[in-house]
Symmetry: C2
Subunit: 142 residues, 2 copies
DNA sequence: TTAAATCTTATAGTTTACTCTAAGTCAAGT
DNA sequence: ACTTGACTTAGAGTAAACTATAAGATTTAA
C-alpha cells in the first residue's frame, strides 16, 4: 500500500486556478455548493477533484439554473443514492428548459438575420422606398 | 382619398396587449426606446405598429442585448439611413455573440445529458461502484 | 360631480449573483 | 518580530432591469 501526497491549494491559489475570487468561493460555500477540507488551523484547502466539481457547477449554471436550484441539487446529492431519481427529474427539467432556450435564441437570431438582410438589400437599393421591415418580415412567415 | 381611423390604445390597454406594465412602457420610453404619440391632453397613445416595434425589441433583447445596446441601436436608427452600415455591424456582433451563446448552451446541455445517462446507468447497476462522473465523462472527450 | 386614469419628477424597493469592507483573531513563513 | 494570508460575522455596495410609491396636477367618462 502506497501513500500518495495530493496537491492542496489555498483558497487564493484555487481561486486563480478556476478563475473565481476567494470571495466567490466562500460565497458558494456559504450556499452549500462547496465544502473544502480544512487544515489544522481551520484554513480551507482545495484539491484537484474540486476543479471538476466547479466545472460541473459552471455547466449547470450555464444552462440557466439559479443558485437556489443548484442548492437543491447539491442537497439531494448529499442525501445519497436514494435521491437519484429526484436528481434525474431535476436535470431533465433543466435540459428541457435549456432546449427551449436554444429554440428561442435561434428564433431571435433569425429575426436579427432577416433584419441584416433587409439592411443589406436596402443599401443596394433593392428595397422599395416604402417597404418597411414589418412587411419584409411577413415574407418569411410560414 | 379615404381617411381611415387608426386604433389607438391607452398606456394600460397597450401594456396589456404586449404583456408589459405601464411602468415598464414609461421606463422604456425614458430610455428612448419608445416614443408614443400624445393626445391633446398629453396622454400617451399607442398604435398597431408599436406592437411590431415592441416585438422587435424583444427579439433583440432575447439575443442578450442590454438596454444600453438597445439604446445605441435606437439612437442610430433615429439618425437616418446614413447609419445603416453602423447598424449592420452592430447587429452582426449581436448575431456572433448569439451563436457563441448557443454553442455554449449546447455544450452545457451535453454535460447535463451525460450526467443523466450516468445516473440512469447507475440506477441499472451498470456502473462500477467506484467509477465517478469524472472518469465517466472522460470517455466522451474527443 | 366625482371616481378612475393619466400625467410629472423623484426616489425607493426588488431580485440575482456576486464583490468588497470592516474589524478583530490567528498562525505560518522570513 | 513582523508581514502576509487566512479566518470569522455582519453588513454594505454594485449592476441590470425593472417595479412601485409618493404627491400633486389634470382630464375625462359615468
Amino acid at each position: 500500500m502506497k501513500t500518495v501526497s495530493k496537491t492542496q491549494y489555498t483558497i487564493s491559489q484555487f481561486a486563480a486556478l478556476v478563475n473565481l475570487t476567494p470571495y466567490t468561493l466562500r460565497y458558494y460555500e456559504s450556499l452549500g455548493l462547496l465544502k473544502p477540507k480544512r487544515d489544522q488551523a481551520q484554513r480551507r484547502y482545495y484539491e484537484k477533484q474540486d476543479i471538476a466539481w466547479i466545472d460541473f457547477l459552471r455547466h449547470l449554471k450555464g444552462t440557466g439554473m439559479t443558485m437556489t436550484e443548484l442548492q437543491k441539487y447539491v442537497r439531494l446529492r448529499a442525501q445519497g443514492d436514494q435521491t437519484i431519481k429526484e436528481r434525474i427529474s431535476l436535470l431533465q427539467k433543466v435540459e428541457a428548459k435549456g432546449q427551449t432556450k436554444i429554440k428561442e435564441l435561434n428564433k431571435n437570431l433569425q429575426i436579427v438575420q432577416h433584419k441584416l438582410d433587409w439592411y443589406r438589400d436596402k443599401l443596394q437599393g433593392k428595397i422599395a422606398e416604402n417597404e418597411d421591415f414589418g412587411s419584409y418580415l411577413a415574407k418569411f412567415k410560414e
